[in-house]
């Protein structure tokens, strides 16, 4: 009995090294994909290059101060200047917090309606409508708010002042209710509702069906099911969506500029017609700004950019962690 002649093949090299064409492809895609990241870096870089000397001069006062003035002497050169965006930062926060406080509950209720109550053609129509609304430009919101919405909003502001005037927030030093941070906040709320609604809807849609069915099988009503299954599942995503809305509200320029009476003072009384936000300050001052003041505006833009970047990053983390692509 002869042993069969075994031919042992030489071991093959198994490689995952991509070919030349794939290397080029991956290179191009990576460069293109990085381009959007590079742009973010460039924005921070260029705004800092222009604005850093203002920040260095004003130091922390640029954020906490609430004076924005340039005094020129007779020859037109700058004699004295002081820049601080404290008042505008307060205004930005105030308007966006009002927007979130009013917009998010409405948006979440609307998303619940779209996910668990609306059916068929009505649902499709409403979903398209909300998406369309998210694409409306801020110019449209701004002018609509100024000409149509303002009078009703003023009426509500007066009611609030009448019945809750004892709370310091709702006091007014003078009966001027037009163009107040409260109204700007309402407009921003209307602007962020479609964004928050569509993100919340996407996340509610992803609630595992088996858990929903299990809740129903245990005899839960819709309310009980939503409280026990949908809300715990979607909470993080909804918060992320709200943060995304917050980012949009903080960076909003034209709508706030149109509706709000931009006055350079720290104003905590939301119903009083004076306020501002960083973005509308930039638009307001840009027209007559000299080169030096433009640098200060760049610094303000840098602060705004970093602020929204931070808010959006938090939103991203929350949305991704709780399982949706987001919007």
């Amino acid at each position: 009995m002869s042993t069969p002649n075994l031919v042992i093949p030489p071991p093959r090299e198994i490689t995952t090294k991509p070919r030349r064409s794939d290397q080029i492809f991956r290179g191009v895609v990576t460069v293109g994909g990085m381009a959007s990241l590079v742009i973010l870096g460039l924005i921070a870089l260029f705004l800092s290059v222009k604005g850093i000397h203002i920040l260095r001069e004003e130091k922390f006062g640029f954020i906490s101060g609430s004076k924005w003035e340039v005094i020129t002497d007779d020859s037109g050169s700058i004699a004295e200047s002081s820049f601080g965006i404290g008042a505008m930062l307060v205004g930005t926060l105030l308007c966006s917090i009002i927007a979130i406080a009013i917009g998010v509950p409405i948006a979440v209720l609307g998303a619940l309606y779209l996910t668990f109550y609306a059916k068929g053609a009505v649902k499709n129509f409403l979903v398209s409508l909300v998406d369309l609304m998210a694409a409306f430009p801020s110019l449209l919101y701004g002018f609509w708010a100024f000409f149509i919405f303002m009078s009703s909003a003023e009426y509500w502001a007066k009611l609030l002042n009448k019945y809750f005037g004892f709370i310091p927030f709702f006091e007014v030093p003078a009966p001027i209710f037009e163009r107040s941070p409260f109204i700007a906040g309402l407009v921003l709320a209307i602007m962020i509702i479609p964004i928050v609604t569509s993100i919340s809807r996407e996340i509610f849609d992803q609630t595992p069906l088996d858990r929903i069915q299990a809740a129903y099988a245990l005899g839960a009503s819709k309310l009980a099911m939503i409280r026990a299954v949908v809300i715990p599942f979607g909470r993080g995503g909804v918060i992320g969506g709200a943060m995304l809305g917050l980012g949009r509200a903080m960076g909003e320029t034209v709508a706030v500029y149109t509706v709000l009476n931009v006055v350079y003072q720290i104003n905590w009384q939301v119903l009083f017609g004076a306020g501002g936000n960083v973005a509308s300050l930039i638009l307001l001052k840009f027209g007559e700004a000299g080169p030096y003041e433009v640098d200060a505006l760049m610094a303000a833009g840098l602060i705004l950019f970093l602020l929204t970047l931070f808010v959006n990053a938090v939103a991203d983390v929350l949305i991704n962690r709780f399982g949706s692509k987001g919007r």
Partner: protein, 339 residues
Amino acid sequence: MNTTTVPTPQKPWETTNKQRLSTASIIFAAILISFIVIKLTGLDGKLGFLSTLFIVSTLLIFIQQWRLRDKAAAKDSLLSSFALLGMIMTVIPIVSIVYTVVIKGYKGIHFGMFINDMSLNSVNDPIKDGGLLHALVGTIIMVGGALVISFPIGVLTALYLTEIRGKLSRPIPSIVAGLFILSSLVYPVTKSLSGMMGSFALSILMIPTIARTSEEMLRLIPQELREAGVALGGTQWRTVAGVILPAARSGLVTAIILGMARIIGETAPLLLVSGGGDSLNFNPTSGAMGSLPYYIWKAFLTGGTDEAFARAWGGLLVLLAFIFILFGLARFISGRKGN
């Protein structure tokens, strides 16, 4: 002999006439009570009526559910009422916006506005004089330019995210995009405002939209297609170019359209970098270039007469029409396939 009785089909889940009657009576009662409340108290106006109607009908439904079933069902009815309220409050502004723009805008629309510019007219002239041709041309050139820049970057970003994996691209405030172009290109390089700068600023805002939409569309391509492409011996590059991108073609077109809809009304960056021209300018590299948002902005802010407002609302109507068309197109293209 057996007689078989065939039971008539019953549909116990359907609403019976009795239930319909009780629903109708609740609606009727709610309207009646709200009328009485409106008459008795100081509340008036459409808004007062609607809010009273909401509160009264919610209460009535709550009571009915409690009587018919139990406390849990009654609470459940509260949620459905409030969810509907949330939806209605979302829809009211959009209806009001579209209604306002159409009602106020159609007076500002006339044929001449599409063949004239504003170089010889001020915003306060009669509406029949001048037009927004320069603004249309400027918007189309700038949006087109932005598209040329952002489409490749957006799609590459999306490909990077889906084929190689990663996490990038964020929305930024529009005014910051304008400031960025000012500080990086206008002041150091060109030293003058032009349409091309407008395109650059717009493309910064457009890239995230295109990237996100394309990413969603590319993720819809089944993984099997990729595996099939590779299994047939294709390299990654051939698979993407020959299989993935053609399969996602309509999705990419949708991404383009949504990106355009996103930036067509963008105002703040254009106010900073495109200069605002009043005359026709086909050259994006030099000279101020008008745009639809700037046209509207100027008419609202510098005018003050009825003519100027009519002009602005007319411009808004044209802008809104563009957005509707783009959006309808996107729906049509993405809906045609698949369903």
